[in-house]
């Protein structure tokens, strides 16, 4: 039996590698979410590292004053062509000596140069604070009088919002291949074969329907695993190349984590390969198979959106355990994982049930035709 299964796997892989549409679909579904991840990461890090244009035009009589030097110390440069105008009304020496506020007008397009305007305002307010501090010191007022409240902020959530967002996207990245990478191939191997009339000659060969289905299921499973490996590798590379440090993103995604996640996904890949074949054989046509398999593919994506509490509550179910294990790994959580005995058992039962159904269905194929 095993040699026949091997022959079928070899043929199916050869056939799949020559099927541009199946390969394109597999690549697309595998890569689409890592690309989404890339966009999200870049948006986060670019926002944080945005460089403000600090070029301004300084107007007024008092350009050599303490204001000028303070702005200069804060990285501002002065140019006649700058889009933001900073005008000092009067002179600072006159204002300071008479204890009258020095009026400064920051003029700029608040649509295009808001960042520069805000940066100038921030710098000038900090200068104002420095001057206030100096005046209090002159009056011999202690610092604890000046700042009666010492407010400190502490984050009670160890995982930042950014980290959680990235982990959500990563989980989708990993579940997407098992939902869709092998889909096109599974349908091509079953409903597609039926439509191309190649199933009947195959069924007339001295090979059991169970061997045929195991061969097709293993092929779909292998392609799905390759898709998963790609998705994990690409996501890992993106995480390592994007400057996430300093952006409150703390994800543990090295080689060991990647290997762990790949292993966690193995049972789910087998389950979805078997389910896709069952759905494709149940369908009356290739088109119907695509529709049903597409709906089936929504299941893992739905699970990835569930809350952590729900995931943990139902971790005896296939997919729930996998999602929980992936999140735990990415967070470098020291919480020991529950051995997936029940989940694994259910996964095995689903695969066996699908194989039983598909081989029974295959026996009826010629009758259905």
């Amino acid at each position: 039996m095993l040699d026949k299964v091997g022959i079928i796997i070899r043929k199916e892989i050869k056939d799949a590698l020559r099927d541009p549409s199946s390969l394109f679909a597999a690549a697309l579904y595998t890569l689409i979410t890592p690309i989404m991840l890339w966009v999200a990461l870049m948006a986060m890090t670019t926002e944080a590292a945005k460089i403000v244009n600090k070029e301004i035009k300084l107007n007024g009589l008092d350009q050599g004053s303490v204001i000028t030097s303070h702005l200069s110390d804060n990285g501002f440069t002065f140019s006649e062509d700058a889009q933001v105008n900073v005008t000092i009304v009067g002179t600072t020496s006159e204002g300071f000596s008479t204890n009258k506020p020095v009026s400064i007008i920051i003029n700029g397009d608040l649509t295009k140069t808001a960042d520069t305007v805000n940066a100038v305002e921030e710098a000038l307010l900090s200068l104002s604070t420095i001057i206030i501090d100096q005046r209090f010191k002159v009056l011999d007022i202690p610092s604890n009088f000046i700042e009666p409240l010492d407010v400190q902020i502490e984050n009670s959530n160890e995982t930042s919002y950014q980290t959680r967002t990235i982990i959500y996207i990563l989980v989708i990245c990993f579940l997407m291949p098992l939902a869709f990478t092998g889909m096109s191939l599974s349908i091509d191997m079953t409903a597609g074969e039926r439509e191309r009339l190649t199933l009947e000659p195959l069924l007339a060969q001295p090979v059991s329907t169970l061997s045929i289905m195991i061969g097709k299921c293993v092929t779909s499973f292998l392609l799905t695993m390759v898709g998963s490996a790609f998705a994990i590798t690409i996501s890992s590379l993106m995480i390592s190349y994007v400057p996430i440090a300093g952006n409150e993103i703390d994800i543990s995604f090295g080689l060991i984590s990647a290997v762990k996640i790949f292993m966690y996904l193995t049972p789910a890949c087998a389950v979805f390969s078997a389910l896709q074949l069952a759905v494709a054989l149940y369908a009356k046509s290739y088109k119907e198979g695509m529709t049903l398999a597409g709906i089936l593919g929504l299941i893992p994506l739905s699970v990835s959106f569930l809350s952590d509490d729900t995931i943990m509550k139902y971790d005896f179910l296939p997919l729930f355990w996998e999602v929980g294990a992936i999140k735990t790994t990415l967070l470098a959580d020291s919480t020991s994982l529950v051995i997936p005995s029940v989940s694994l058992l259910i996964s095995c039962l689903i695969v066996i049930a699908c194989l039983f159904y598909t081989q029974r269905r295959l026996k009826l194929e010629t009758l259905l035709n």
Binding site: K4, I7, K11, K14, E200, P201, A204, P206, S208
Partner: protein, 245 residues
């Protein structure tokens, strides 16, 4: 040797085959002749073990198709009414796949493939993928797939359909050669000239029932007709059931 013993098959209220009995021996070509929907394809599918009969039995070289399905299929080469080729596989890969499924390996497999390619004059297309093949080329591949493993029984469902005269001649010659090598050949066909020329034995079927069987000459003589076509029409419409010879 192929023995069909009193098989019947119904699909709901429709009876496709009813109490059909006949045999096809080695070194002979037996043809099932019947109108469309007479039960020929159902009979061939039952012989291939693709459909279980409601009653009766089929044996291929002594192996019962129902109880020893895989052993029986090893004796069989099948040429279905639709060629059903894998578009992305080459001719050699087709032969390799189906030969392997029949247990051929290594040198035996390689020789079987070479031999099949040579017999069917497929050297020029051997390494080409089947996508875009002409009807004749597709027929050759399907036929090669059916006999690459040297089956004892070859079943063909309307093999000459859609073929040009050159391919019909090639097929005819090939079937004669296989018969001479001891292969038991059973085919369904509509072309009277083909049947008269090739068949050692003809089985007339109508409404899933056997109406007559015998050599073309015997059937013509017994019916009093001038040719096989007339004999067939007479048996199916006038005379009723009966065996010749």
């Amino acid at each position: 040797m192929l023995n069909i013993n009193s098989i019947s098959k119904s699909y709901g209220d429709v009876t496709a085959v009813q109490d059909l009995t006949f045999s096809a021996g080695e070194n002979s070509i037996t043809t099932l002749l019947g109108a469309n929907g007479s039960g020929k394809t159902t009979t061939l599918r039952i012989i291939a073990g693709l459909i279980s009969p409601d009653q009766g039995s089929v044996s291929l070289n002594g192996y019962d198709v129902e109880s020893h399905t895989l052993e029986a299929r090893k004796q069989l080469g099948i040429f279905p009414d639709q060629f059903g080729l894998y578009q992305r596989l080459t001719v050699v890969e087709h032969l390799d796949y189906f030969g392997s499924l029949h247990g051929l390996k290594d040198e035996n497999l390689r020789k079987a493939i070479e031999n099949t390619v040579q017999i069917l004059e497929m050297e020029d297309i051997a390494d080409r993928r089947c996508e875009g093949f002409s009807q004749g080329q597709r027929m050759k591949v399907a036929l090669g797939r059916a006999f690459v493993h040297s089956p004892k029984v070859l079943v063909l469902d309307e093999p000459t359909r859609g073929l040009d005269i050159f391919n019909v001649r090639l097929l005819r010659q090939l079937l004669r050669n296989l018969r001479d090598k001891g292969v038991c050949i059973l085919m369904s066909c509509h072309v009277m000239a083909e049947i008269e020329d090739l068949s050692d034995k003809v089985v007339f079927i109508a409404n899933g029932q056997k109406k007559a069987e015998g050599s073309p000459k015997e059937l013509i003589e017994k019916s009093g007709a001038s040719n096989l076509e007339e004999a067939f029409v007479k048996y199916v419409t006038d005379i009723g059931g009966g065996n010749v010879g």
